[in-house]
């Protein structure tokens, strides 16, 4: 008879079902990074001079920077000269309509459950599909355009709306921000752009689906969302990659700008390939995400469900500049087998009566290591600021670990800051109790885990909450004890 611990481990070593590779011809840049490569990427995308200059500034800054080592993660050295910085599917004339998407790619996305066919999509979700370095399709564009909403690939935005891109690019995450963000600024390939005009409530979820396909490439996407005064948008990103023995680097940057009375909800369901059960392969997910609540009463909510990647290093944060603005961060991060996650948030309170809420749920199974790292900074002028943080860890088995590093910097005496933390374990006694009532070990674990995560799942759009729940149970399969 297998013990609960063994069962948990079997659950943990279950297959990654998005690990297939699409055999299509790629157009690739030569391996390695140099000024020529930066120029090549910019030229491929027919970018204006100012953007090339911006990239080159970033590149030169990057050369002077050191890879950060403070994260609670360990990995071998990354050879930045051995990465391919640009890969695009070949045979790619400018698409006039969705029907022109390469059938191979269309099938890939279908297999991933993302049909690029407006009729078949979840009604009420517009999708931008990014395949390696380029966006291959964006659905519902016309419908959104009627409301003045711009939703397109980043490259297209640079061509069609250069004034908007120029106005906001780098205003939240400057090109000199940190090692990975700076690298991204030099070589970013594609990503999504969304602009919601004044007073418009975006009638559907906007979503981007990122797929890494090509071998030995990095994915460096860049997303920019601007919500004008009084507007509202809910955005979701999802990601997968084929199973590969070598590690692949994913260093994205996301910038959000919310003006007066605007609200942005940004949700992520991250399911990059995590590597095999011995820690071979998998994606290095080193991402910088930040939102600026620039206007009064603005609000930005980050919700993330992180189940994939070999290593996750990300801290979606909010700069609460406008008075009465609100920042929220809801996170579920799971690490199983040899996965490592160092994730959390930064809430920077600048404006008066600004409020932030942090709810972090870390689940560790197998040999997984899960770290919460969060900064709450309350500036001198942030009169009446309020933060509430809750960090809970759930351990499955006894070979995994959970760590919590909350940092507080409070420069205003009127601030109120509350912090709660807990660590619990799925005990064998809980599993046995559930089994004695007829439930399988897997059902019992799922029940306990979803109970643990419900405050976060509640924040996700309905369809995705269901997806996230499934993903979570898959990623923990085999992990009880």
């Amino acid at each position: 008879m297998s013990t609960p611990t063994e069962t948990v481990e079997q659950l943990a070593s279950r297959d990654y079902k998005y690990g297939f590779y699409t055999d299509i011809e790629h157009e690739m840049a030569p391996r390695g990074l140099s000024e020529e490569i930066v120029r090549l990427i910019s030229a491929k995308k027919q970018e204006p001079e100012w953007l090339l200059e911006w990239r080159l500034h970033a590149y030169r800054t990057w050369l002077t920077m050191k890879e950060p080592t403070w994260g609670n993660v360990t990995y071998g050295p990354i050879d930045y000269q051995n990465i391919i910085y640009y890969a695009a599917p070949k045979k790619r004339p400018v698409l006039q309509s969705l029907d022109e998407v390469d059938p191979e790619i269309r099938r890939t996305f279908e297999k991933l459950g993302i049909p690029l066919d407006e009729q078949k999509l979840f009604s009420g979700v517009a999708v931008d599909a990014v395949f390696d370095s380029v966006s291959v399709a964006t659905t519902f564009k016309e419908k959104l355009a009627e409301l003045g909403i711009i939703f397109c690939s980043f490259s297209e935005a640079v061509r069609q709306h250069p004034e908007l891109v120029r106005k906001y690019l780098g205003t939240v995450v400057p090109y000199s921000d940190n090692f990975f963000a700076t690298l991204n600024s030099a070589v970013f390939s594609d990503g999504s752009f969304a602009y919601i005009p004044k007073g418009v409530r975006c009638p559907m979820e906007l979503s981007t689906y990122f797929r890494i396909n090509a071998r030995e490439t990095g994915q460096f996407e860049r997303t920019l969302i601007v919500a004008e005064e009084g507007s509202y948008v809910s955005y979701l990103e999802g990601c997968t990659a084929p199973m590969r023995d070598e590690n692949q680097l994913h260093a994205a940057v996301v910038e959000l700008v919310a003006l007066d009375n605007a609200t942005i909800k940004y949700s992520t369901v991250q399911n990059w390939y995590p590597g095999d059960k011995d820690g071979k392969g998998g994606i290095y997910n080193f991402v910088t995400k930040r939102g600026k609540c620039a206007g009064v009463n603005s609000k930005i909510t980050w919700t993330q469900v992180e189940t994939g990647s070999a290593i996750t290093w990300k801290y979606p944060g909010c700069i609460l500049q406008g008075d009465n603005s609100i920042g929220e961060f809801y996170s579920v991060a799971t690490t199983n087998n040899r996965q490592q996650a160092d994730t959390g948030t930064k809430m920077i309170h600048l404006g008066k009566n600004t409020k932030s809420t942090i709810v972090s749920k870390g689940i560790s199974a197998g040999h997984g290591q899960n770290t919460y790292r969060g900064l709450v900074r309350i500036a001198k002028g942030a009169v009446g600021a309020h933060n509430y943080s809750q960090c809970d860890s759930l351990l499955i088995g006894d070979k995994c670990g959970a760590h919590t590093f909350p940092y507080l910097e409070i420069r205003n005496s009127t601030a109120r800051v509350e912090h709660e933390a807990s660590t619990s374990k799925i005990g064998e006694d809980q599993i046995f109790y559930s089994r004695q009532r007829g439930l399988s070990t897997e059902d019992a674990v799922n029940m306990i885990v979803s109970g643990f995560c419900k405050d976060v799942f509640r924040q996700l759009p309905m369809e995705f909450a269901v997806e996230a729940q499934k993903l979570l149970s898959i990623s923990l399969e085999g992990s009880v004890g």
Binding site: S424, Q430, F432, Y433, S434, R437, G438, L439, T441
Partner: protein, 256 residues
């Protein structure tokens, strides 16, 4: 319905059950008494299939089937229920949700339709009324923050909803106040019928005034040292366990 033959079991490297023989027929109530540490809970856990307890010899058949070959959830699904001496807390998991999931897996196994939320609530309300329980319990996490007595009552409530064929109640009376004891006992009595059997572990003869057993067994040092009718419980109440050990000529604390 249940036949235990020469059952030996060990835990943490120590032999605890050292040859148990016990037969329970359909509709019978058997009580098990015995000193602390004699192996009563061990017997209950072995019947339920607790993975830490290793059966080293003997056999157990339930309705003719080899119970020991089944995993714990299968045993539960075919109708073996154990009320825990120490019910386990599962924070974050809603009591009603947990019980509905359990009931539906059991029903599925029996080839019955799963209950929807409405049907489930109707059933549950009825059982709660019977056990004089507050509906608040449904929306609280499983056993989390329950008082000792509330946990015990929750065990019986789960039993009443799951309707097992064999219910093993491990010291369900310990920790109940006098009124609660009556309510719980009447809940058990209401479930007694010709097809359902009970194995009731208790330290107190008082419970057996309410739930009248057909047979009383005394477990000592991993063996049944005496079986009798309900009068045996009274005798134990009077004399303690010492006289039995002398009667069978083996000290209770015999070395392993």
């Amino acid at each position: 319905m249940l036949t235990i033959r020469n059952l030996h079991a060990r835990v943490a490297g120590r032999e605890i059950l050292r040859g148990i023989d016990l037969s329970i027929r359909f509709g019978e109530v058997h009580a098990i008494m015995g000193p602390n540490g004699s192996g009563k809970s061990t017997l209950a856990r072995v019947l339920a299939g607790h993975p830490e307890y290793e059966v080293t010899a003997g056999e157990v058949t339930f309705e003719g089937e080899d119970l020991l070959a089944m995993d714990p959830e299968t045993r539960a699904r075919i109708g073996v229920f154990m009320a825990f001496q120490y019910p386990v807390e599962i924070p974050g998991v809603n009591n009603a949700y947990f019980l509905k999931a359990a009931l539906n897996t059991v029903r599925k196994h029996r080839g019955e339709e799963e209950l929807d939320a409405m049907e489930f609530m109707t059933l549950v309300r009825d059982r709660m009324k019977q056990l004089d329980m507050d509906e608040d319990f449904l929306n609280r996490p499983v056993n989390d923050g329950f008082s000792g007595g509330e946990k015990k009552r929750n065990e019986i409530f789960q039993m009443a909803v799951l309707e097992p064929k064999l219910a093993v109640l491990d010291e369900t009376d310990s920790g109940l106040d006098i009124d609660a004891l009556r309510v719980v006992a009447s809940g058990v009595n209401a479930m007694r019928n010709a097809d359902r059997s009970f194995l009731v572990v208790t330290h107190y003869q008082r419970l057996l005034n309410y739930i009248v057993p057909d047979v009383v067994h005394v477990l000592s040092d991993g063996r049944i040292v005496r079986s009798g009718d309900k009068a045996l419980a009274l005798e134990l109440e009077d004399k303690g366990y010492g006289w039995l050990e002398q009667a069978v000529g083996s000290p209770v604390r015999e070395l392993r």
